[in-house]
Point group: C2
Chain length 218, copies 2
């Protein structure tokens, strides 16, 4: 399967698994940086390959076969992230960028070697779960977005759901990283902002960030 197909399928999967629910061609197109006409064409083609269900004007839905393919690519992506993170001193954003390319050129054999080397990790450095070689995610996720966290409660950062460079630069500067501890000192409900303390720092975050930082109660 081509890189274009893998990325298309992956984009649908990612939208579905974060509850962004909109998997219509136009939205997928936006994420891939292609026209929605191209996305419609691709959707029709993939329907004939039994990778997704296509009905005019409706949201796209992966078939079991499509989901399996998505999970295979996602597995390779997250394994590369975990591997590069462990081996080299590179920013989370750089690691993401490399993984985005390498994921399409990695045999199942190599993916298994990487997984074994890392001790079959269940999470990548963003806290995203790594599917096993059967395409199964065996972990459960009970974490919540920082936007929905309780005032006064202490949390552990469980996921950083982004691929945005500036976001990761911000994280690096403020020690916001996977498995670090933070306390929610104040929720500014009407302004949609959250105040946290991390180490000796106090930071106020707006919703752009509190919707993509996920945490677990400590």
């Amino acid at each position: 399967m081509s890189v274009a197909i893998e990325n298309f399928i992956k984009a649908i999967y990612n939208n579905d698994s974060h509850d962004i629910k909109d998997t219509k061609p136009g939205n997928i197109a936006k994420q891939l940086g292609i026209s929605s006409a191209a996305a419609t064409d691709m959707a029709k083609k993939l329907a004939t390959k039994n990778l997704l269900h296509y009905e005019k004007y409706q949201a796209l839905q992966l078939t079991d076969k499509g989901t399996k393919m998505a999970l295979n690519v996602v597995r390779k992506h997250r394994l590369w992230e975990a591997f590069l993170f462990k081996m080299f001193d590179m920013s989370l954003h750089d690691i993401h960028r490399e993984a985005e390319l390498l994921e399409h050129q990695t045999s199942d054999l190599l993916a298994d070697k990487i997984s074994a080397y890392l001790g079959h990790p269940k999470f990548d450095p963003h806290g995203d779960p790594i599917p096993n070689s059967n395409g199964e995610i065996t972990t459960e996720d009970h974490s919540i977005a920082l936007a929905d966290a309780k005032e006064g409660q202490t949390y552990v950062i469980s996921r950083l759901m982004s691929d945005n460079k500036e976001f990761f630069e911000f994280c690096a500067l403020n020690d916001i990283k996977y498995r670090n501890t933070i306390t929610v000192s104040k929720q500014f409900i009407t302004n949609k902002m959250t105040q946290i303390t991390i180490g000796s720092n106090t930071i106020v975050l707006n919703q752009d960030f509190t919707k993509i930082i996920y945490v677990d109660e400590k």
Copy 2:
């Protein structure tokens, strides 16, 4: 630059650097598994990009720019080979196959990280020299093909110039590998075969193999 372009440029470079000298479109096409018509088209296109010199019916010659690009890809290929060889238990042929894909999707940054991790190696596991980040090969090669070796002389294997699966299977079975020691016990000149001893084994090799196994006097 596209994968097709990188592979085309690399094929010319590889022919030039092993003295296979034939870099006409037809021969490049054969190596890439495309038609010679396609190779001619590609050659014309790359000439307009200043990557090679094209004259009808003549051999293709890389420009400095083209050579630099080839060396950049070759560097990534050989770094991946060295890295995968060190990290994972995989056959030389499997490693080659992975590197063939990964080389096109590797940033200069990642290549430098891999190189640093390995201590900036000068050779890959086949004995091929690894260009530095400026695209320079600083090592000299005085090795000769086993076909041209002296009877009675002991040698160290310096290069295994192949990407053929069966060849590497044969090597693995007979302990023929980079930096191992062998002795040439007999040259059967008229039959174009070479008898060597390696450890306690005696093997007679035909020219298919003695032309791609390179050795240094010990």
